[in-house]
Symmetry: C2
Subunit: 79 residues, 2 copies
């Protein structure tokens, strides 16, 4: 099965990369963009077909290795 | 309105970052992970409420500035 872990900065955490994109777009004439936030999307191809097992494993992986729980939150989508 | 642009490597394009994550996870004892692919998730807060206008603008931005069309594909989700 496939699963996608999305890692985003928490609300209120400054995103310099997003701000850089926003400024670049404004300079290029794209108006009406109030905010840009950049995150990661990590797609897993898993041998297991057991959704709850996959979610438990990915939740542990995301919490320990993919996201920094101080400033980031993550979300798991099974497909 | 909010919109999310997802940028992924095209099928068949080597993903060294994903392979590094996969190897690390195998070393840490996580088995049954066949493949890991890393992509970007860019969230936009837009002033416009016009979905088709937002999609046209973001499609141009993604194609020109966020994705490398030779090796990456993108997808737009309006929220």
């Amino acid at each position: 099965m496939k699963a996608v872990v999305t890692v985003e900065l928490k609300e209120g955490v400054l995103d310099p990369q997003g701000q850089a994109i926003q400024q670049l777009l404004a300079q290029r004439g794209y108006s009406g963009i109030d905010e840009v936030r950049v995150g990661k999307r990590i797609e897993f191809s898993l041998a297991t077909l057991d959704g709850s097992r996959a979610e438990t494993m990915l939740s542990e992986i995301a919490d320990k290795l993919l996201a920094n729980p101080v400033i980031e939150r993550f979300h798991i989508d099974l497909k």
